[in-house]
Symmetry: C2
Subunit: 131 residues, 2 copies
DNA sequence: TTAAAACCTGTAGTGCGCTACAGGTCAAGC
DNA sequence: GCTTGACCTGTAGCGCACTACAGGTTTTAA
């Protein structure tokens, strides 16, 4: 059940060990199993939960809001409220994507502008390109 | 030509006055016209440039990288290099959008999961929803 | 004439999300 | 038995992108 050391959990999730401990301190990760010597052992579910946290955080939810969601997860009868939060976040992510797409279009315009104006690359340019 | 006060530039761009001055200190905005008393007057081009900066910043380019790009803009014969930077950034934005879309799908799955499991909202729930 | 508004410079502080460090425990291998 | 390494806690520090503040000048309006 609880089979991963903190190092392994870090490797799997991509978070650093320090960040895992930080999340736990902040209350985002809870009830991690401990060996008698106090070492953490993460279960498969812990890993899944961590990946969910990463999803939420990387899609723009601040730690504080995520904390509020997690708090709800530890209270019974808050299903609707949690779902509302998720839906609000989904909407925010959609808005974010739309913004990124608008920025992308603008950047592409600028690239096109350069392409029209720029003389062909010389061999020297190519050599300098360092790719 | 140079017609906007810093306050107006802030209103138009959505940046705060302090941020405009900060960007100037950092070298992202240059050659802003000054009245004899030292007050800034932004031109239409300044505004456009500021909006470009915001586009780059909000699409994920760190100030430091943006600074490097701006530095190139003040050096002749760097067109190709600038274009390369823009293309690299465009690629990064595309990757970012793809990530956001994956996160979005995951969030939607979770919402669907809740929807399947959750009993219908009671009137009390609706009243608590505070929308 | 004086008070308020808008601006200036320079520097210090803030909030976020980690990240690093100090000082310690414990188990395994040489 | 001693070192190494992975872990622990608690606290301090960092990097980024602002943001606020102190202390000043100048213009405008009452």
């Amino acid at each position: 059940m609880a089979k991963y050391t903190i190092q392994q959990a870090a490797e799997i999730s991509g978070l650093k060990i320090e960040a895992l401990r930080y999340y736990e301190r902040e209350g985002l990760i809870r009830d991690v199993h401990r060996l008698p010597n106090g070492h953490r052992r993460y279960s498969e579910q812990d890993i899944q939960w961590i990946e969910f946290l990463i999803c939420m955080r990387d899609s723009g939810m601040p730690i504080r809001d995520l904390k509020r969601y997690v708090d709800l997860c530890y209270q019974k009868g808050t299903g609707h409220e949690r779902c509302d939060l998720l839906e609000a976040h989904r909407d925010a992510v959609e808005v974010q994507i739309a913004k990124y797409e608008a920025y992308l279009a603008r950047i592409e315009d600028k690239i096109a502008w350069y392409r029209e104006r720029l003389p062909r690359r010389t061999e020297q340019d190519e050599a300098n390109k360092k790719e």
